[in-house]
């Protein structure tokens, strides 16, 4: 598998990261290097192996249905770059 410039641009868009056109080639080269390197995993026989879904040997702990958080809109929006009346604000979205 080899990544071309267009694929890198597509992935960058999927990740919402602007990559200047001029850097795409260099980046494609680096990403291809990495992907080529991880190809060696194919050598490992993983037939019948369950993929790791949890590192700790336990199952999901559940909490009680109690309201124990929230109620501090000031603090929630305090770090926001833009907003008004406790709302966050972003450039207008047209659906």
């Amino acid at each position: 598998m080899s990544l071309d410039k267009a694929t890198v641009a597509k992935v960058a868009h999927l990740a919402r990261i602007r990559v200047p056109e001029g850097e795409l080639d260099h980046l494609a080269g680096q990403l291809n290097g990495l992907l080529g390197w991880v190809e060696q995993l194919r050598e490992v026989d993983t037939d019948g192996v369950e993929p790791m879904t949890s590192v700790v040997a336990q199952t999901l702990r559940r909490r009680a249905d109690a309201v124990a958080d929230g109620g501090y809109p000031d603090r929630v929006v305090a770090n926001a770059p833009d907003g008004a009346e406790h709302f966050f604000a972003v450039p207008k979205v047209v659906e």
């Binding site: 999927l14 700790v56 109620g71 809109p73 929630v76 709302f87 604000a89």
Partner: protein, 484 residues
């Protein structure tokens, strides 16, 4: 009757599947301790977890899990004792983490069924594909500022059950019946309030068309259709659009569309045009959700009697028609009201009063049974007054109207207005004698064979007694006296 679209090239049928997002009734959110109540001030029900602050982690609400399992059991579905939470990655202003925690390959609930009650009194089974738990997104407000969208995260993180039907529905009416039934079941279970106006139940509609019996066509997904009527309209519109498109030589594109209720049309969603690649993978902040069968069994024991079972019981125990039973079980409160009225009384008579009189009257004022000015005990009391002969069925109608108006007890109204039925034969004798004396000519005509005049005499006697005379007694005595 099958739903068909008449095209230029022949008859088409529509294939519909519904994805319902039902907000779980719970105090706190699925993965945080913030409150879920509707309509709070902006970002006032938001924790740092909901706003996806750095380092924040999800911890699952056990009641939401229980609600999902309860719903699964109510849909007669398989409960998966091991399920996995995945991240669905996409960027949107009201999705703070850049991913939604959902369930992809291993949902908590598998296949189930739902029985539709059709308008002709018949039923039809529709398959449920799956039910999974996921978190809701926040809300984007596009109309608060000329160049900005405002974001409120109060809804972000509220638990949703996504309930996916199989593509078993074949008409707008069936889709409506499916939604009504699903809503009824959710409300019976107390797992979702089913309020589509407030958005606590939302529907995505998958529609494709095919020549009758032909191969399945390409489907479109119309998002966030927020009433049953709109769902019907959206299906009609989409089916017609697709048929026209295909017949004109075009092809249906698999895409996400948006319902425009003002124009009554669906349209392609501009902001979601590009193909999605959600990059699902198991959420490493959460571990597999493992349930004990014994726990599931305990939840099962808490299930209320569900509408299908209740309907069957009403038909068997109360001798009601499928239609009447269906009307009564459509809402749990209605069924409970009916049973309170019917207890120890004539069940059919109770059904007539509840359906014919009470529901009819409430319907006119747009109220539901919970807002009824007449309690079940009082309606039962009214029936008792009829049954024991205190008032006649006709007088009962007046008393009912008075009860509806004032909320007073039937016995109070009867006493206050002196509506008690006259059963004193002396008084009735006298009234009959007066009527016969005043209408001697008619008495003669009757006696000469004009039987039809009997009704006239009954009417006169009832009028003379202001309707309070016991009709049976009036009949008996009148017949005897007229004979001469």
């Amino acid at each position: 009757m099958a739903y068909r679209i008449q095209g230029e090239t022949g008859e088409w049928e529509v294939v519909v599947g519904l994805e319902v997002h039902a907000q779980v009734i719970s105090n706190a959110k699925l993965f945080s301790g913030a409150a879920t109540a509707f309509g709070a001030a902006p970002n006032s029900q938001v924790s740092y977890v909901d706003a996806a602050f750095p380092g924040m982690l999800p911890v699952i609400n056990e009641f939401c899990v229980e609600q999902a399992v309860k719903t699964g059991l109510g849909l007669k579905a398989r409960i998966n004792l091991r399920s996995i939470f995945d991240r669905k990655n996409y960027f949107y202003a009201d999705l703070p983490a850049g991913y939604q925690i959902s369930q992809y390959k291993d949902p908590i609930v598998g296949e189930g069924t739902i029985v539709l009650d059709l308008s002709d009194g018949g039923t039809r089974e529709v398959g449920i594909e799956r039910l999974h738990l996921e978190m809701d997104a926040g809300k984007s407000l596009h109309d608060q500022h000329p160049s900005k969208t405002y974001v409120d995260l109060n809804r972000a993180g509220v638990a949703l059950m996504e309930i996916v039907s199989k593509p078993d529905l074949r008409s707008p009416e069936e889709a409506a019946a499916y939604l009504r039934k699903l809503r009824t079941i959710l409300r019976y279970l107390g797992t979702c309030d089913g309020n589509m106006e407030e958005g606590s139940m939302r529907c995505d509609v998958n529609v494709s068309v095919r020549k009758v019996g032909g191969r399945l066509g390409t489907r479109t997904e119309t998002k966030n259709v927020n009433s049953i009527r709109y769902v019907q309209q959206a299906i009609e519109y989409e089916a017609d659009r697709q048929v026209k498109l295909i017949e004109e030589g075009g092809q249906v594109v698999q895409e996400t569309r948006l319902w425009d209720p003002n124009k009554g049309i669906t349209r392609s969603m501009r902001s979601k045009e590009e193909a999605h690649d959600y990059r699902y993978f198991p959420d490493p902040d959460l571990l597999p959700l493992v349930l004990e069968q014994s726990w599931v069994d305990r939840v099962k024991q808490t299930l209320p009697e569900l509408p299908d079972d209740k309907k069957a019981r009403f038909m068997a125990d109360y001798g009601l028609s499928a239609y009447d039973a269906g009307v009564l079980v459509a809402e749990r409160a209605r069924a409970d009201f009916y049973e309170a009225v019917a207890k120890g009384r004539d069940a059919k008579m109770a059904a007539n009063y509840v359906i014919g009189d009470l529901l009819g009257a409430l319907n006119k004022t747009g109220k539901d049974i919970g807002e009824s000015p007449i309690s079940a005990a009082d309606l039962g009391g009214l029936i008792d007054l009829v049954t024991d002969g205190t008032i006649s069925g006709r007088i009962a109608k007046d008393v009912f109207a008075e009860m509806l108006e004032t909320g007073e007890k039937p016995s109070v109204i009867v006493e206050k207005k002196g509506l008690r039925q006259v059963t004193d034969t002396g008084a009735i004798d006298k009234a009959i004698d007066d009527v016969m004396a005043a209408n001697a000519d008619k008495v003669a005509e009757y006696r000469s064979g004009k039987d039809k005049l009997f009704g006239f005499f009954v009417g006169q006697v009832m009028r003379a007694t202001q309707g309070k005379a016991n009709p049976a007694l009036v009949n008996d005595i009148l017949a005897r006296k007229l004979k001469g």
